[in-house]
């Protein structure tokens, strides 16, 4: 057993922390308030190699591991949930499926620019009538000559407006038992027939781009089907397993930020002639927060480590996502409580932590779905 990070992991964490504190933190309030997607920050993050951490150098990546990537997501999440979500989605949902399942040509054309940080990508799974039940995908892909023709609608797709390509899931036929075969298709930006709108007015992660996609007779070359045509469903389950680690890391970042703010404030704020950190009621809140943040982080790192070791990590990534996202929500809520009236004000930022944290209990599988995944792993 060794809980020590490698030098590279530590250096990456320090670099991302410095970058996040110097470049992202000063803008976090405005990013949220004005729903501004910080495109320029993503350009800088790309130049620093952050968008390619878990991909090998031959595909334009940095050759890091999942642990390093999780540390980077946590540090960005600690200052800005919006930037953190778009970052996690770009790597885990946008680029990862291309790396895991793409053909060599697809990797050359679509993965390399992402890993080098020259663009973002999205993953379009959710539909108005197929959320948790992703198998209920209604978007259809029909093979006509050398092209697939896609028709349907996708909802809440992170980064779609800024994506150079979007991986879209669709029904592409039926299995012998009558069930739908779900495959994934790489749709380049500006493909005729694909309309992307970002009109959602969100509760949190307001600076993360979230888009609705309408597909009307969208033609993509036959070669753009991702990986094994029959294994689309299994592929996106694997993608989501990986994505959960990053959502969990983002949650740890928000929980840590909540603890940091609450602790600093409690030591400074005086009521009844004493800093409120001297009151046991406040101390117990802080003690619980500190403990839960550390437990959540340990679970995230373990899941990431399992993934890096090539061991099964489905259950552990569900543990991490479930526990960390609920921890983030509780911690942010307690941080507001400890700040009293000030905590309810935007300026103090903890109210934003709560709004941002809420998304993490919903996106990439709701908390209920995580419990279902865990129960299934238990053999229920």
């Amino acid at each position: 057993m060794n809980f020590e990070l490698t030098k590279e992991q530590e250096m990456t964490r320090k670099m991302v922390r410095d970058f996040a504190e110097e470049k992202i933190a000063p803008r976090a309030i405005d990013i949220d308030k004005n729903s501004e997607f910080p495109e320029d920050l993503f350009k800088e993050m790309g130049e620093l190699g952050l968008l390619g951490i878990p991909f090998p150098e031959e595909y334009g990546g940095s050759g890091g591991d999942t642990v390093t990537y999780a540390l980077a997501v946590e540090e960005i999440g600690r200052v800005c949930g919006s930037t953190g979500l778009s970052y996690a989605a770009a790597v885990s949902l946008g680029a990862s499926p291309l790396y895991y399942f793409g053909t060599e040509e697809q990797k050359q054309e679509f993965l390399i620019p992402l890993a080098k940080g020259e663009g973002l990508a999205s993953f379009g799974l959710t539909e108005p009538n197929a959320g948790s039940d992703a198998g209920g995908t209604q978007t259809k892909a029909v093979l006509e000559g050398d092209h697939y023709v896609l028709n349907g609608e996708k909802s809440w797709i992170t980064n779609a407006e800024y994506a150079r390509s979007i991986t879209i899931t669709a029904q592409a036929g039926k299995r012998e038992d009558g069930k739908n075969i779900i495959s994934a298709f790489i749709v380049p930006k500006d493909t005729p027939g694909m309309t992307i709108r970002s009109d959602y007015d969100k509760m949190g992660v307001r600076g993360s781009n979230t888009s609705e996609i309408v597909l009307e007779d969208v033609k993509v070359p036959k070669e753009n089907i991702l990986g094994d045509p029959k294994k689309g469903f299994g592929q996106f389950l694997h993608t989501l397993d990986g994505g959960r680690i990053s959502i969990a890391a983002l949650a740890v970042g928000i929980a840590q930020a909540s603890l940091d703010r609450a602790l600093a404030y409690a030591k400074e704020r005086k009521q009844f002639g004493e800093p409120i950190s001297k009151f046991q009621a406040i101390q117990f809140k802080l003690a619980d927060m500190a403990m839960e943040v550390e437990l959540a982080r340990n679970m995230v790192l373990k899941a990431a480590w399992l993934k890096d070791e090539g061991k099964p990590f489905t259950k552990e990534s569900a543990y991490a996502k479930l526990f960390a996202s609920e921890t983030a929500f509780r911690s942010a809520n307690q941080a507001i409580q400890i700040h009293g009236g000030y905590g309810y004000m935007r300026e103090f930022e903890v109210e934003r932590f709560l709004r941002d944290a809420k998304l993490l209990e919903i996106g990439e599988g709701t908390s209920e779905i995580q419990r279902m995944v865990i129960a299934r792993q238990l053999g229920c």
């Binding site: 030098k7 250096m11 990456t12 970058f19 130049e47 952050l50 951490i53 150098e57 940095s62 050759g63």
Partner: protein
């Protein structure tokens, strides 16, 4: 060009620092590259990009400094040297460091050595200039701009907010001041590449030095934190009464008037 950087690992003075048994508590302190040395690393890389050559980062310290050296390599330095004094020296001062560096540079041929203006921990600002004296090369402190043309070097230095322009020649030692440049973040590919870059570790023995040769010339008697900030005093009353009260306090209580 043979470009060298002197780099020190220091604790982060922006983080909480505590003292026990007359020493800075290691536990809980954050260690960083001395911020002024970051300007030196950045400038060294810029000089290399402009004139070619190689950047070597040198530190006198212990094993723990490897992280800071690796960070400099990740930023773009080519080689690093750790002169490890852990087993040989209990204590050292600026004299110690200068003697060790002098011995090191006698065996190498620097065209330019870049150091920080001061190290933020002890803030003596002595190592750079004293090393240059020992090596018998010119030095310019607190530089904010540098351009090299053949052997000629044009420098702007900060003198208490004013700019002084200096012309000098290589080989040269400079100490870097805020404003010289904006140090880059070590990129991820840089961090990964740093793994494979050379980190040479030597001891004073390898420089033909004995413990006695480098024995500190000064002795630290005590280390203490500045007194905690006291709560301010709010003076009440009409403006003219307040002024009277303030003057009387400055005279009688704090005795500054």
């Amino acid at each position: 060009m043979n470009i060298y950087v002197l780099l020190k690992r220091t604790f982060d003075t922006e983080e909480k620092i505590s003292i026990s048994n007359g020493k800075i508590e290691d536990e809980g302190a954050e260690y960083i590259i001395n911020p002024y040395d970051e300007y030196a690393v950045e400038e060294a890389i810029n000089l290399k990009d402009a004139h070619g050559g190689e950047v070597t980062v040198v530190t006198v310290g212990d094993e723990e400094a490897e992280k800071q050296l690796r960070t400099a390599l990740a930023m773009g330095a080519d080689k690093s040297v750790l002169i490890n004094t852990e087993d040989d020296l209990e204590e050292g001062d600026q004299y110690t460091t200068v003697r060790i560096l002098e011995a090191y540079f006698k065996e190498n041929e620097p065209d330019i050595i870049l150091a920080g203006n001061v190290a933020i921990d002890e803030a003596s600002g002595q190592v750079g200039p004293r090393l240059a004296e020992r090596l018998d090369i010119p030095f310019v402190t607190t530089i904010t701009d540098i351009s090299i043309d053949g052997e000629t070097v044009n420098i702007e230095r900060d003198v208490e907010g004013d700019v002084e322009k200096v012309e000098t020649t290589l080989p040269l030692l400079v100490t870097c001041q805020q404003g010289l440049n904006e140090p880059r973040y070590p990129s991820l590919p840089g961090i990964m590449k740093a793994k494979k870059k050379p980190l040479e570790e030597i001891e004073i023995d390898d420089l033909d030095l004995e413990e006695d040769d480098v024995e500190a010339k000064t002795k630290t008697l005590e280390i203490f934190l500045p007194p905690e900030k006291q709560a301010g005093k709010i003076i009440e009353g009409e403006p003219d009464e307040q002024v009277k009260e303030l003057v009387s306090l400055l005279k009688n209580e704090s005795k500054v008037l």
